[in-house]
Subunit: 365 residues, 2 copies
């Protein structure tokens, strides 16, 4: 690829054909499974990829910051879930945005947050965030207090209550596809049990919204849920390929870098891609403590005999027996595409082996 | 601080008084030691802080990207060292910038790079990058090939040769001040020996440029070097305070965050500051594997009984026995201020306990 010899490095490369394939596959599964599709836009943060998630159109999406919500609203997306429990101070901003689009769903997982909504003077669409084993945010579905909170939300005049939302982020700690499958089954089972409990209390029409790229990628069909919110699948990354969410050839992104130091006497080389070009995510280190900070490949994405053993701000240190003279260009498949993409103001989009355009992500909060 | 109750979170806070103190102390030491002062701007990447490094004026600086070099040149800085070995493809850009300012120093550490300069058609100011034990970039000062390269650079019509440049980055792995002191002594001794070797070969007037915040912070006076290039000292961080480069009260920066989930039953809470607000730098984990992703404090920067045990994209997970209800605001002292600062498009600058302004850093490459 001649273009890759001339771009300034480090550069974030996105293969549009692979993005389109990844998007089409997930969208088709949601459609065939008869569940609502509300993909997450936090991985790519671009209008172009969000539209590809919906086959070239706008559609319901999920976001991770209010800045993303406002950015996508400005680009015509009218139905948005802000999938982090809302800080009380962000309620006026959420209410202002909700007034400009069809629907902004917020997450609540405490009586404190519910009270904050009720005293904000607004009426907001909301889901109850449920913890299905990840133990990050969310209420325990087995705790009677959680049912009390769901019922309080459903009865609150300040809330239009839509259902239960969970994220099986612990699927990222899985060691193989079987473990991902078990986590996925537990996730939907916990939500379904909780929904039954609420139904017994008289609360019907409660949606179950689930989402994590590993759990949604390994199945052919989505079952026991009403909405799916995958995000990372648009790009995938070295982590997802290693735990079995995708094949190596499904990863759509890489960081183009240049060898700026070559030290064969100590079997090392230095790239001009460091922590600010790659992020310091350690990837699937639970499976391989020596995995390094990304998979170092040649320009055709064939892995090289080189491990990215250390990152400082603008240097990536390779342990390598390969001949990599100064000026050599490599592509690093990132460990965690969400974090790596966020380091760039622009992505270089490849199509047919050429740089065919640029995408500009939103940034900040 | 009333302002801190209202800023949108996460937000990057810079205490201007502490920055001024940190800058004045390092500048005074350089002046009293009679060495040239070329501070690094990569930590803050702002015009405001770069001027404070020089007592409110422009002066010689060091940068880590060509984007920084161009940004600071545009702000009136006329004497800049680009302190990463240059990729051959960046030579035309470097030459263009060099033509617009008084001096742009580049780094060379291979005959390949020297040859690239010689065939570029430009004449550039350059240092030889020397490895004094960090084993990242640089030539081995004990290798006869390194002296050959220095002499070739000095004789090259394409290079104005200024001297030897090193960075004792391995001081970051030190366990205490005594170890930092030993590394600093080895660094200057290795450069001085190498300079003597070059003098014996007839190469005189060779500058020794050194720089790392730990080695330059713990001494009262700089010796056995001709130029110093500290950078992190402007902000410092939890890492530097832990290894002994500074006191906790010398750290000028923190991330303002809000508790968005509170789970006392599992002794956990969630902040709205995750990997994109803090970076995934693990800090002084060589001294304390359970250090976490930053030091969690109240609004007056008193440490709380809370450890930041995990970061996902927009969530920070606290293990805590403290009462931290939803809506509580905290300040997180970052592990590595260079990487954390780079996540923000703007810094909120505090003076006298109020938000007194904004600084906008340069970004990208």
């Amino acid at each position: 690829m001649d273009d890759l010899a001339h771009l300034t490095t480090p550069a974030f490369l996105v293969d549009r054909n692979i993005v389109e394939q990844n998007c089409a596959r997930m969208r088709r599964k949601a459609s065939e499974s008869g569940v609502a599709f509300r993909p997450h836009a936090k991985t790519h943060k671009t209008v172009e990829a969000a539209r590809l998630q919906h086959g070239g159109e706008v559609g319901p999406i999920t976001v991770s910051t209010m800045a993303e919500a406002e950015f996508f609203a400005g680009a015509g997306f009218r139905d948005i879930t802000y999938a982090v429990p809302i800080a009380p101070e962000k309620l006026p901003r959420a209410a202002a945005l909700a007034g400009r689009i069809e629907r902004l769903n917020i997450l609540v997982d405490s009586f404190v947050a519910l009270h904050a909504v009720e005293t904000s003077g607004s009426v907001l669409d909301a889901f109850l965030k449920v913890d299905c084993g990840y133990h990050r945010a969310g209420v325990d579905p087995a705790d009677p207090e959680s049912a009390r909170l769901a019922i309080a939300m459903a009865r609150s005049p300040a809330i239009r209550f839509h259902g239960l939302l969970t994220h099986a982020g612990h699927s990222y700690n899985a060691r193989d596809v079987e473990e991902i499958r078990r986590i996925a089954a537990e996730e939907t089972a916990a939500l379904t049990r909780f929904r039954a409990l609420l139904a017994a209390e008289g609360l019907g029409d409660v949606m179950r919204s689930v989402g994590s790229t590993p759990t949604l990628s390994i199945v052919d069909r989505f079952a026991d849920c009403d909405e799916v919110r995958p995000g990372n699948y648009v790009f995938f990354d070295a982590f997802q390929a290693t735990i079995g969410s995708c094949r190596a050839e499904d990863v759509a992104v890489s960081v183009l870098a240049t060898v700026v130091g070559s030290y064969p006497e100590r079997r090392e080389a230095i790239l001009d891609a460091g922590a600010l070009a790659l992020s310091k995510d350690t990837g699937p280190s639970h499976l391989d403590p020596a995995f390094g900070y990304g998979v170092v490949c040649d320009l055709d994405l064939r892995p090289l005999d080189a491990r990215l053993v250390a990152l400082s701000q603008e240097h990536g240190k390779l342990a390598t027996a390969a001949h990599l003279p100064v000026g050599t260009r490599v592509r690093v498949v990132p460990n965690h595409s969400c974090l790596t993409a966020a380091m760039y103001d622009r992505y270089h989009v490849l199509a047919g082996g050429r740089v065919a355009g640029e995408w500009r992500p939103v940034r900040g909060w």
